[in-house]
């Protein structure tokens, strides 16, 4: 099977800090892969490495069958962070159109579809600076989708989002995955982890364990993913000492 995302022994060191420390990742088409770990576990660094915002210290990355770094492949990937990162003086539709254009894939019909998908059609002509945090976050997601990416890298997209919108976001994610789009989503919220197809537990830059939520729970015989994560963490600490 061809993987959409493949890394081999990926490492990123900032001086003595091993932010990503030998990660092997394989994510298939249409999968929702959750990178789960506490703050500082290396989730953001890993995602920034994948999208080419950071250069790895060592190791390799392949996205959509192409070796990274590769600027052209970024036309087929979408990226979103917890900070909404939008142009305040532009409207919702102008922001969406701009990022689509940057990838050379601007299409007004698709722009409107994307805005509808995140349910912003009524605010499509509003300036970003007049929007609330939740609406901005939805615009941000629309920008990440504006160029019909085949792969979405979302770094804690639901941080600071209210529970209702978070549920809406996850239903968007599922419907995107159903159309064959691959999603890598980082989170430190365990109830979000339950909604992923497959999880990677990340701690101190290393993958502790990988598998579907059910498999990970069963491996440790726990009822929640949170407990499973803690057990894996304890095991890693003891094993290391």
């Amino acid at each position: 099977m061809d993987f959409v995302v493949e890394t081999h022994d990926l490492r990123k060191y900032f001086g003595s800090i091993h932010a990503v420390d030998g990660v092997d990742l394989s994510v298939g088409r249409g999968e929702i892969y959750g990178l789960i770990g506490p703050n500082g576990s290396g989730k953001t660094t890993l995602i920034r490495l994948l999208i080419g915002l950071l250069r790895p210290t060592s190791g390799s990355i392949r996205l959509l069958g192409e070796d990274m770094p590769n600027k052209a492949i970024l036309a087929q990937t979408g990226y979103m962070t917890q900070a909404s990162a939008l142009y305040e003086e532009l409207t919702v539709r102008e922001n969406v159109a701009f990022f689509a254009d940057m990838c050379g894939k601007y299409d007004p019909t698709w722009r409107d579809e994307v805005i509808e998908l995140v349910n912003l059609q009524d605010r499509s002509r509003s300036l970003i600076r007049t929007l609330s945090g939740g609406l901005r976050q939805r615009t941000s997601l629309a920008c990440a989708l504006a160029h019909k990416p085949r792969l979405l890298l979302l770094d804690e997209p639901t941080v600071g989002v209210d529970p209702q919108l978070r549920a809406t976001f996850w239903s968007y994610f599922r419907s995107l995955a159903d159309t064959g789009i691959t999603l890598i989503i980082s989170s430190h919220v365990m109830d979000e982890a339950e909604r992923c197809d497959r999880l990677g537990f990340l701690r101190q830059g290393k993958l502790l364990a990988e598998g579907t939520p059910a498999v990970l729970r069963n491996q440790k015989g726990t009822t929640t993913l949170e407990e499973a994560f803690l057990q894996f963490a304890v095991e890693a600490t003891e094993g290391g000492e």
């Binding site: 080419g52 915002l53 950071l54 250069r55 990937t77 962070t81 990162a85 939008l86 305040e88 990838c103």
Partner: protein
């Protein structure tokens, strides 16, 4: 009013500033740098000003004191001055030497110079000035007048001497020396504003777009959209060029406003073509945009952008030939003028506005401005790449 709260705020403000090392450095070192630069510029011994002299004075022969050649006496005094470098010229050379800048003024003593002094008790100096820099003209006139006064003072006791009590006419003290100045460039109808206008226009064209570009580019990074852009196929060079064109358009609007306001409302006199003026300041404005983009890479917030004003703009003013002529600067400072973009714009604008020169004469300055733009674009792109580490 709660003093404790006031002092708590005081302490917090102090802490914040102390943690921003660059601000601390700016508070401490920027004034020292500015003062040193000022002291160097004001105290520097300017290079001697090349002064052309054409002396055909026949002198006057008196049976009592022998021959007096006043023209020669003044020339000797001029030659003795450390501030002037006297060059003897022939009639044919005067205009060419002034035009190519190898002399900055020419002093002419006619055949009857001494004779008319004896008759009128008044030495009238015929001084032809290059004229494109009024400060320079004033300095030269002053040096020439002083030398002439010394020359006359040497005549005391010869019977030709200076009247012991200057005669007052129309409420003014009549000096025995007067300068009749004519100008190769500029002239009577040109006032100080006309002479300052070229550098003033240049400074304004650069200053505002520099700040605009600096803040605009900084905001791209602080609001996170730069990171988002970096995650698209857009290259650093494309981003820099896009900014340059977008901001450049507004820079051009400003350039047009500055130029048309200066010409039609302030009503300055200028020679040369208007479209050439537009071209020069448009080029300088584009340089300003690119300097702003580059500078913003070194700033983390708007406050730090303001810090670039003393660091980037003031040296342009002090060292770029804006108000101090570069040839008056100490030798070790002069190379700095040649890395100031505004130096080339100042040259080009003075040449066009005061001398009426055309593209054929000023193109080297324009070519250098284009080159600086290219270098800045490349540097800005490299700075952005450095952020992806």
């Amino acid at each position: 009013m709660n003093l404790r709260r006031v002092l708590t705020i005081t302490r917090r403000v102090m802490r914040q500033i102390l943690r921003d090392r660059r601000t601390v450095a700016l508070i401490v070192f920027a004034p020292m740098l500015m003062l040193t630069l000022g002291a160097i510029l004001f105290r520097s011994d300017p290079a001697p000003i090349p002064l052309g002299v054409l002396n055909v004075d026949q002198g006057v022969t008196s049976p009592i004191v022998g021959t007096i050649e006043l023209g020669q006496r003044i020339v000797d005094e001029l030659a003795a001055s450390d501030d002037l470098a006297v060059v003897t010229l022939s009639q044919e050379e005067v205009d060419d030497r002034l035009r190519d800048g190898t002399v900055e003024a020419a002093l002419y003593f006619p055949e009857d110079f001494t004779t008319s002094f004896v008759a009128n008790r008044q030495a009238v100096l015929d001084l032809l000035l290059e004229g494109s820099n009024p400060m320079r003209s004033v300095t030269i006139t002053a040096h020439v007048t002083q030398a002439a006064m010394r020359g006359l003072a040497g005549l005391a006791g010869t019977g030709f001497g200076v009247p012991s009590v200057p005669q007052a006419t129309e409420g003014e003290t009549a000096l025995p020396v007067s300068v009749q100045a004519t100008y190769l460039y500029g002239g009577e109808e040109f006032d100080t504003m006309d002479f300052v206008a070229p550098v003033y226009i240049a400074l304004l064209s650069m200053f505002f777009v520099f700040l605009l570009a600096c803040v605009a580019f900084l905001r791209e990074r602080s609001q996170g959209t730069m990171e988002r852009l970096a995650a698209t196929p857009a290259t650093q060079m494309e981003i820099v060029l896009g900014y340059m064109l977008g901001l450049g358009l507004f820079a051009l609007i400003q350039v047009a406003v500055i130029l048309f306001f200066t010409i039609w409302v302030i009503k300055i006199h200028y020679l040369g073509s208007l479209s050439l003026l537009l071209l020069v300041i448009a080029l300088l404005a584009i340089v300003g945009v690119n300097m702003g983009i580059l500078a913003s890479a070194f700033a983390r917030n708007e406050f730090q952008v303001i810090q670039f004003v003393p660091l980037v703009i003031i040296p342009q003013v002090l060292l770029g030939g804006t108000f101090w002529a570069v040839q008056d600067m100490p030798n070790f400072l002069q190379p700095f003028a040649y890395i100031m973009p505004i130096y080339y714009a100042n040259n080009a604008l003075r040449d066009v506005m005061l001398k009426g020169w055309g593209l054929a004469e000023i193109w080297p300055n324009l070519a250098i401005l284009v080159g600086i733009t290219g270098v800045l674009i490349i540097l800005s792109s490299m700075m952005m790449r450095r952020e992806v580490s």
